[in-house]
């Protein structure tokens, strides 16, 4: 789509929207949680989503549907702010860093109890952090790789001694896997404990019928100032997006987790329903396999990166609910720099890069996508026609989702579509995965290996001063953009639709949604 037709299209949509709202009457706003009325006590919240949770073991579970549930029961020492930009104390009251930056002294709240009635103490904190560290690479232990020892000073104080200076430590402690549970699993085995976990959170374990529903009930003795207002929260499993949408419209559920973008508009114009796009840390990108020629040639990668019309993709795939990506980092990630200029759509620039490359007349290649994913299929089709203008003959190769992952891990692809979402409010988790070949994934499976950027990344890991860190991460974002080792596509928000009675539902850029302060109006 050219710029003029796009403008015209936008004008038509705007006119249609005005017409619709004029005759529809009850069309809803698209902001949630903005209600200033007094919270209402009571009520049961039902959230429908495509898949069930799989485990409540916080240290070895990588599945978001599980993580979003366990976070309501088990809380970490620190947590991310609503906008994702900073880390705030939760079960901790604060911390101090030693001059050599190798020892963190963390003080704990003295008014926190577990839902079994026991007060939370430094012993529990040490046990919980050590438990996660011990999982190593079989779980989330790798996040704690910099931790040497955790020691109890007194009931309300622990020290964390590091093997080397490590700037992301406090962000790392805010991950769910470092959530605090009673020492020695409250006298049970780990397996027994995670069948019905106990934590300090606003909700307590109730019941799980696997494949059907998972239910938590309110913790009446919650230590926090506000909430929980709801009596219970139930997550149901409704695999089909269309069925979830109809259940919401039929009033059978309160929240539809991840409605299709294609139905987002119609949901937000349904009376009594609110559809909200929450800013995320998700960045979708094209990865070039540099082991396959001609992708080791920076000009080829840059040519493709310039040839991609990201705005069209945002319109076609996200129905306008997102932004073209300019950087390796997403706007919801700390140290994101919006002034960084990643390649943007410019066919002249793309042709100039192709002319300088090793394959000025074009070449044949393929793009690996996951079958059954309409978003990836749209991106692939748009790319196919745009690359044809550079003489690049791109075949679309579809594999079933798990087979697709297998091919990516085995570097069995030319180009592939992938995405990253942050688990920790610190860029390091992603940058170490993406730019450092030693990060375990050969630089996000691209085999990109640029010593200057690797050095910058390692410096940033050890830099405590946030201004200096910003400078380092800006340089990484600039150099990664210039090398076009990935072609960034777009930043897509998290889609949720809910009935208008749901108040205070907020999703952080990391994807989790604390439910303590959510309530339902009658």
């Amino acid at each position: 789509m050219t710029r003029t037709t796009r403008t015209r299209y936008a004008a038509v949509v705007a006119v249609a929207a005005v017409a619709l709202s004029a005759c529809g009457g009850g069309s809803s706003s698209s902001s949630a949680g903005g209600d200033s009325s007094e919270p209402v006590q009571g009520g049961d919240l039902t959230i429908a989503r495509a898949a069930d949770a799989i485990s409540m073991d916080k240290t070895t579970t990588f599945d978001n549907n599980s993580i979003y549930v366990m976070q309501q029961m088990m809380q970490p020492l620190f947590t991310v702010s609503d906008d994702g930009s900073e880390v705030q104390p939760l079960l901790a009251t604060g911390y101090e860093v030693s001059d050599d930056q190798l020892t963190y002294t963390i003080t704990l709240r003295d008014d926190v109890s577990f839902t079994n009635g026991d007060p939370m103490t430094a012993e529990d904190v040490k046990f919980s952090l050590d438990e996660n560290t011990a999982t190593g690479s079989d779980g989330w232990g790798f996040v704690n790789a910099a931790i040497d020892t955790v020691s109890v000073v007194d009931d309300q104080t622990v020290t964390v001694a590091l093997k080397y200076p490590w700037a992301p430590l406090i962000a790392d402690l805010s991950i769910f896997a470092n959530g605090i549970i009673p020492a020695d699993y409250d006298g049970q085995t780990a397996e027994q404990f995670y069948e019905a976990p106990v934590g300090t959170g606003p909700f307590v374990w109730d019941e799980w019928q696997r494949g059907q529903y998972l239910k938590l009930t309110a913790n009446p003795d919650y230590w926090g100032d506000a909430g929980p207002y709801l009596d219970s929260v139930t997550w149901t499993v409704v695999p089909d997006a269309n069925t979830r949408k109809l259940q919401l419209q039929g009033g059978q559920i309160d929240i539809d987790d991840t409605p299709d973008w294609s139905s987002f508009e119609s949901l937000s114009s349904t009376p009594g329903v609110t559809a909200t796009a929450f800013p995320s840390t998700r960045m979708d990108y094209i990865a070039f396999n540099q082991q396959v020629e001609p992708f080791s040639d920076v000009h080829v990668r840059r040519a493709i990166a310039f040839a991609i019309d990201r705005e069209s993709m945002v319109d076609a795939v996200l129905y306008g609910n997102g932004e073209a990506a300019n950087s390796l980092l997403s706007p919801g990630t700390p140290y994101y720099d919006e002034s960084v200029e990643g390649p943007t759509f410019d066919l002249d620039e793309a042709r100039a890069e192709m002319a300088q490359s090793s394959v000025p007349d074009g070449f044949s290649t393929s793009l690996l996508i996951a079958s059954g994913d309409p978003n990836q299929a749209s991106v692939a089709q748009i790319m196919q026609s745009q690359l044809a203008e550079l003489g690049i003959d791109m075949e679309i190769r579809q594999l079933e989702p798990t087979a697709n992952k297998q091919a990516r891990l085995a570097s069995d692809f030319d180009m592939t579509i992938s995405a990253w979402t942050m688990d920790i409010p610190d860029p390091d988790q992603w940058t170490s995965f993406a730019v450092d070949p030693e990060g375990g994934s050969h630089s996000a499976f691209t085999y990109w290996d640029d010593q200057a950027v690797i050095d910058l990344n390692q410096q940033a890991q050890r830099e405590i001063d946030s201004d200096a860190r910003q400078d380092l991460y800006t340089q990484i974002q600039e150099q990664a953009g210039e090398s076009a080792f990935l072609a960034y596509l777009y930043y897509s928000p998290y889609a949720y639709a809910m009935t208008e009675s749901v108040q205070g539902f907020q999703v952080t850029p990391l994807g989790n949604y604390p439910l303590a302060e959510v309530y339902k109006t009658p």
Partner: protein, 319 residues
Amino acid sequence: MFDRLRFVPIRLLQSIPVVFGVTVVVFFMVHLLPGNPALVLLGQSATPERVAALNDQLGLNEPLWDQYLTFLGNLFQLDLGQSITYQRPVTELVASAVPITLSLLAYALVLSLAISIPLAALAASAPGRVRDAAVRAFTLLGQGMPQFWVGIMLILLLGVKARAFPVGGYGQTPAEHLYYLFLPALTLAIAMSPTTIRSLRASTINVLGSDYVGTARSKGAAGIPLFRQHVLRNAAIPTVSIIGVNLGYLVGGSLVIEKVFAVPGLGSLMVNAIFARDFPTIQAVALVVALFVVVVGILTDVVYTAVDPRVDLASQERA
């Protein structure tokens, strides 16, 4: 009567190699799929090293034959293994899904008979007339509509517009189950009834023209009593086999319908297990479905023998 059921144990014996064959084929086919459970479990953090380590821990790096023999050995002790995804016994997962799918199928069968018998009788009572044409048009329509589409239409009309039924789910009490499963069962029944109606209509027309019906008529029998006492039982004989075969297919159809209606039965369990490469669960569900088809086949023959005293399957087995 019992004498005529002697074929049942023989059929059961014959089904052992069938079920065994299914376990072999399913086991090796699922392992031919590219990808493994560790890839799915580790999510975006999967790296080749961590995937290899987790597969090792899950015992998936053992030779396939060893894994199969372990599976078979456990099977003889009625142990279907641990689900890789949920880390709990597969038997537990299957045991909670089987009653759901079975009740869905039974419900669908009852509804489809409730639709088919009156419509077939109506059509057969006046072959070639308007009501016959109307019933035949309905069967064509029923056959032509894809199941998932019928399901979505029923949800839209009866769930969203009329709000008479819930939009998917299963409920928590037996009464709720009946209520929640009505629409999916109706969807399956609509898919199943066209062949039943056609078969029943054809055989009813046949039976209505036979001498014994003529005799019954001459003795004053007519209307519904005539149909119930003299026609239905004889006309039902060919239809029983057709329903038996259809029930086998219906298990496949229920995979799609369970997804549309968010019914947590065997179909949902199977689909999720395939995406997650949860091998033990896939094998267990395949085994249960194979057993189901075998049992339905035998039950069909039992019903067949009961409806038609002339049929003697036991003597055929001997021949």
